[in-house]
C-alpha cells in the first residue's frame, strides 16, 4: 500500500509535466496547465497525508530511520548491481507532507501571481517537474537515486530562476545557481564514489546497506570516512546555500516569487539538509564538527548581511541562508531531530514569508503598470526610480504603511515573522530554534569542547540578528507612513487565490501542528562512532564516551531533551536575544528613537562590508571568475595557436609528402601498368594485323597449308 501511494505521489506531478511536454511537442498550448498541475499536486498531497496518517498510526515502527524499504533491481552490470527503490519512514513521510503542502500552496498562489504571463502554462509545468524531482529525492532509498533527484532539482531550479530569461540579471542568476551548486555536486559525487568503492553499494539502509556495513570498518578507517562524509556534505553546501557557496541563493531571487518560496522553503535548499540528515549515521566526529562550523558560520554571516538589505526578497533570501545554517548546525551538533524539526517549521513560515512578499510585490507591481497606462504625462515625474539595482516594487524604501491596504498579508506575515524570530511559546519557530540552540549547548556541555561553545554563541547572536532584520522588514513594509505615495495609493489586497495559501501557511506556523508532527515521531539513528568506539578517542575533539552512550539510547535521549538544563538555559537566552532584537528593531524603525542612517554613517566601514555582502561576490568575481576567464583565454590561445598550429603543420606536412608519394605512385606505377597493357596490345595488334593482307591468294595458301598440315597430323596420329 505504501508503495502504491508513493507511486501516485511521484507520478502525479510527473504526468502533469509530461502532459505539457507532449502537448507542446504537438504544437498545442495546453491552456489549462495551471489547473492540471495544481490538481496533480493536490492528489499527491492527499496521498502524502494518508501516508502520514499511516505513520501516526504506527509511530513505533516508522520512527526508526529506514523503517521500510521497497527495492527492486534496476541495473545489473556483471556482478555489480544497482537496485532502485523507495524508502519509507517517518522522516520521509514528514518531508513528503511538507513538500506537497508547500508545493500545492505555491501552485495555487501562482494562479493569481503569474496570471497573464506569456509563458504561464510552462511555469506550471516546471513547478510540477520541480516537485517531482524533490519528491523522488526524498523517497529514493539509495545514494544514486538521491543523486538523480538532486541533479533534477538543480536543473529545475535553473529553469525556474531563469524563467524570465529576457532579463539579463535573471539569465545570469540561473547560470550562477546552476554552476555554484555544481561545485558542491562534484564533491558529493566523489564522496558517493568513495563509499561505493568501499562498500560496493549505494543502498543506505538494510542488511547490505552502507549504514550497516559502516559498522564493520576499522578505527583506522575513520579518517577516510570523515573525508567521504565531508565530501558528500559539499553537495549540501552547494544546494543548501551554505558558506562559501551561498552566493547563488540571493541572486536566485530573480526568479518569480512563488519559485523563491518553493525553492527556498521546501524543496531545493531543504534537499541539502535532508541529505545531511540522511547521511547522519556515517558522520564521524570530524565531519560533524565540519558541518556544525559551516552551519554556524553561515547562520551568523547571512543574518548580518540581511540587516542592511533594502530589497524585500533579498532580506528573505539571506534569512533563508541563515536558517539553513541553523539546520546544518543542529545536524553537526548531533541532533538529527532538531535539524529536521527546524526544517519543517522553517518550510512553512519561510514559504509564508516569500509568498507574503510576493503578495506585496504583486500589489505594487500592478500599480506600476496602471500608472504607466493611465496617467502617463502628469505623474511621470513621480515614477519610482530604481535604486541600487533593486526593482522599485521590491524596494522597502518605497513601502510603508501597507498594513492598512493589505491586512491579510500583514497579519499572516507578522505571524511568520514572530515565528522566525523565535517569539516564545505560541510560534513554531521558537520551539524548533530552541531545539537547535539547546542541542548545541547540550553537546558543548557534554563534550566540554570549546568548539561547541563558540558555535552556540554564534547561533545565539544569529538568533538576535534574525529578530532584528525580520522586524525591520515588517516595520519598513507595513507600518509607519507611506514613503511612496503614488505606489501606496494604488496598492491593494491580493486576489483570493493568493490570500488563501497565506492563511493556510499562517495556521501551519503555530506550534500545535509542528510539535505534534515532528518531534515525537522521529528517532535519531545511531552514528558510526558509537559502534566503533575508538579507544584513543580524543575527548577534547568531540563526543565524550558518556555522550556516546547516551546517544546510543536515543529514545530516552530525545525524550529528556526538553528538561535538560542545557535546554532551559538555551531557551532563556534565546528569548532574551529575540526580545533584544525586536526591541532594537522597533527603536530604529518604528519609534525612530535612533536613526539607522546615523549608525550606518558612524560605522561606515562595517556598513560597507555588510552592504557588499562581505565582498564574497567580489572575491569570486575577482579571483575565481577572472582566473577562470584568464585561464580560458590562455588555454584558448594555446588551443588556437599552438595546438591548431601543430595540427595545421602536421596537415601541411602530411599533405605535401603523402600527396607527393601518392602522385608519384599514380604517375609511375599505375599509369605505367595501364600504358603497358595498352602498348602491348597496340604492338601485338600491329604485328597481327599484317596477317590480314587482303590478298585472297595468301588466304588460300594458308588454308592449303593448313589442310596439308592437318592431313599430316591426322596421318601421324591415326
Amino acid at each position: 500500500m505504501i508503495v502504491t501511494f508513493i507511486f501516485i505521489i511521484l507520478i502525479c506531478p510527473l504526468a502533469s509535466f509530461t502532459f505539457f511536454a507532449i502537448s507542446s511537442l504537438m504544437g498545442r498550448k495546453s491552456s489549462r496547465q495551471d489547473l492540471i498541475s495544481t490538481f496533480a499536486m493536490l492528489i499527491a498531497f492527499a496521498c502524502a497525508f494518508l501516508l502520514f496518517m499511516q505513520v501516526l498510526g504506527n509511530p513505533s515502527i516508522y520512527k526508526v530511520a529506514g523503517a521500510s524499504t521497497h527495492t527492486t533491481d534496476w541495473i545489473q552490470i556483471d556482478n555489480v548491481s544497482l537496485p532502485m527503490g523507495f524508502l519509507f519512514d517517518s522522516v520521509t513521510s514528514i518531508m513528503l507532507l511538507v513538500v506537497t503542502i508547500v508545493s500545492s500552496l505555491v501552485h495555487i498562489f501562482s494562479i493569481g501571481y503569474m496570471h497573464g504571463d506569456p509563458r504561464y502554462p510552462r511555469f506550471f509545468a516546471y513547478l510540477s517537474l520541480f516537485s517531482f524531482s524533490m519528491l523522488f529525492l526524498i523517497v529514493a532509498d539509495n545514494l544514486l537515486g538521491i543523486y538523480i533527484g538532486w541533479e533534477l532539482v538543480g536543473l529545475c531550479s535553473y529553469l525556474l530562476i531563469g524563467f524570465w530569461f529576457e532579463k539579463d540579471s535573471a539569465a545570469n542568476a540561473c547560470k550562477k545557481a546552476f554552476l555554484t551548486t555544481r561545485v558542491g555536486d562534484v564533491g558529493m559525487f566523489i564522496g558517493m564514489m568513495m563509499l561505493f568503492t568501499k562498500f560496493h553499494t549505494f543502498t543506505l539502509f538494510g542488511e547490505n546497506g552502507i549504514f550497516e556495513l559502516v559498522n564493520n570498518l576499522e578505527s583506522s578507517d575513520l579518517t577516510w570516512l570523515s573525508i567521504a562524509g565531508i565530501l558528500i556534505f559539499c553537495g549540501a553546501i552547494g544546494k543548501s546555500a551554505q558558506f562559501p557557496l551561498h552566493t547563488w541563493l540571493p541572486d536566485a531571487m530573480e526568479g518569480p516569487t512563488p519559485v523563491s518560496a518553493l525553492i527556498h522553503a521546501a524543496t531545493m535548499v531543504a534537499a541539502g539538509v535532508y541529505l545531511a540528515a540522511r547521511m547522519f549515521p556515517i558522520l564521524t566526529d570530524v565531519s560533524s564538527l565540519f558541518i556544525a562550523y559551516v552551519g554556524g558560520i553561515t547562520a551568523i554571516f547571512a543574518a548580518t548581511i540581511a540587516i542592511v538589505r533594502w530589497d524585500i526578497k533579498r532580506v528573505l533570501a539571506y534569512s533563508t541562508v541563515s536558517q539553513l545554517g541553523y539546520m546544518m548546525l543542529a545536524i553537526g551538533a548531533g541532533s538529527y531531530v532538531a535539524g529536521l524539526f527546524h526544517l519543517t517549521t522553517h518550510a512553512f513560515f519561510k514559504a509564508l514569508l516569500f509568498l507574503g512578499s510576493g503578495s506585496v510585490i504583486h500589489a505594487l507591481h500592478v500599480h506600476h503598470n496602471d500608472h504607466d497606462d493611465g496617467h502617463h504625462d502628469d505623474e511621470h515625474s513621480d515614477q519610482p526610480v530604481e535604486r541600487d539595482g533593486i526593482p522599485p516594487e521590491q524596494d522597502m524604501r518605497n513601502m510603508g504603511g501597507l498594513r492598512h491596504k493589505m491586512p491579510v498579508t500583514f497579519w499572516t506575515m507578522l505571524i511568520a515573522t514572530l515565528s522566525i524570530s523565535g517569539v516564545p511559546f505560541f510560534f513554531s519557530g521558537f520551539w524548533s530554534k530552541d531545539e537547535v540552540l539547546g542541542a548545541t549547548l547540550e553537546r558543548a556541555m557534554e563534550s566540554g569542547s570549546a568548539h561547541y561553545y563558540i558555535l552556540f554563541f554564534m547561533a545565539l547572536v544569529a538568533a538576535g540578528v534574525t529578530a532584528l532584520y525580520m522586524f525591520r522588514l515588517i516595520f519598513l513594509t507595513f507600518t509607519g507612513q507611506p514613503r511612496d505615495q503614488g505606489m501606496y495609493e494604488h496598492a491593494h489586497e491580493s486576489p483570493k487565490s493568493m490570500i488563501i495559501p497565506l492563511i493556510i501557511l499562517a495556521v501551519l506556523s503555530f506550534p500545535i501542528v509542528n510539535k505534534w508532527s515532528v518531534k515525537k515521531y522521529i528517532e535519531q539513528p545511531g552514528q558510526v562512532h558509537n559502534h566503533l568506539a575508538p579507544e584513543h578517542a580524543n575527548q577534547f575533539v568531540l563526543y565524550a564516551a558518556a555522550g556516546s552512550a547516551d546517544h546510543h539510547d536515543s529514545t530516552s535521549h530525545t525524550a529528556h531533551k526538553g528538561h535538560s538544563p542545557a535546554h532551559n538555559i538555551a531557551m532563556g537566552l534565546s528569548i532574551f536575544v529575540a526580545g533584544l532584537g525586536i526591541l532594537l528593531s522597533a527603536l530604529f524603525y518604528h519609534w525612530k528613537t535612533f536613526s539607522a542612517e546615523t549608525i550606518a554613517n558612524k560605522f561606515r566601514g562595517v556598513h560597507r562590508i555588510l552592504w557588499n555582502k562581505y565582498f564574497i561576490d567580489e572575491f569570486y568575481d575577482g579571483i575565481i571568475v577572472r582566473a577562470t576567464i584568464i585561464g580560458a583565454k590562455i588555454f584558448g590561445g594555446i588551443d588556437k595557436y599552438l595546438v591548431d598550429g601543430l595540427v595545421n603543420l602536421v596537415a601541411i606536412i602530411v599533405n605535401y609528402i603523402v600527396a607527393f608519394l601518392v602522385g608519384l605512385f599514380d604517375n609511375k606505377v599505375v599509369d605505367f601498368l595501364v600504358n603497358s597493357v595498352a602498348g602491348v596490345t597496340w604492338k601485338f595488334g600491329g604485328r597481327v594485323r599484317r596477317v590480314q593482307t587482303g590478298v585472297i591468294q595468301n588466304y588460300l595458301f594458308v588454308i592449303l597449308t593448313g589442310v596439308i598440315l592437318l592431313i599430316i597430323i591426322f596421318r601421324l596420329l591415326v
Partner: protein, 114 residues
C-alpha cells in the same frame, strides 16, 4: 607395254590438281585463276572416272566379274555442269570488275579492305 593402272590415273590427276593450285595461288590474272580452278575440278573428274573404272561396286558385281560403278561417272557429269555454271558466273563478275577498275587483278580490287 605394261597395263595402265589406277595409280597412273591418280598420278595424272595429282599433277593436274597441283598445277591448278599453283595457278590459283600465283597468278595475278583472274582468268588464269579461273583456269587453275578448272584444272582442279577436272583433276577431280579424272579421279571419279578412274575410280568408277577400277573399283568394283559391292552391290552389282558378282565373283570374278568386272563391272562399271556408274556413280563415279554421274558425279563427273555433275562436276562438268557445275564448272560450266561457275565459269559463266565468274566471267560475268570479271567483266563487271573490269568495267569498274579497268583491271582484272584481284590485288587491285581492294576497295572493301578496311
Amino acid at each position: 607395254m605394261s597395263n595402265i593402272t589406277l595409280e597412273h590415273y591418280l598420278l595424272i590427276s595429282s599433277i593436274l590438281f597441283t598445277l591448278g593450285v599453283f595457278a590459283v595461288l600465283t597468278r595475278r590474272n583472274a582468268i588464269t585463276i579461273l583456269m587453275g580452278i578448272e584444272l582442279m575440278l577436272n583433276s577431280c573428274n579424272i579421279n571419279f572416272i578412274a575410280f568408277s573404272r577400277f573399283v568394283k561396286s559391292p552391290t552389282t558385281v558378282g565373283a570374278g566379274e568386272v563391272s562399271l560403278a556408274i556413280e563415279g561417272q554421274i558425279m563427273a557429269l555433275f562436276v562438268i555442269v557445275l564448272a560450266a555454271a561457275e565459269a559463266a558466273v565468274f566471267l560475268a563478275i570479271i567483266l563487271s570488275i573490269y568495267r569498274e577498275f579497268n583491271s582484272i587483278s584481284p590485288d587491285e580490287t581492294n576497295t572493301l579492305k578496311g
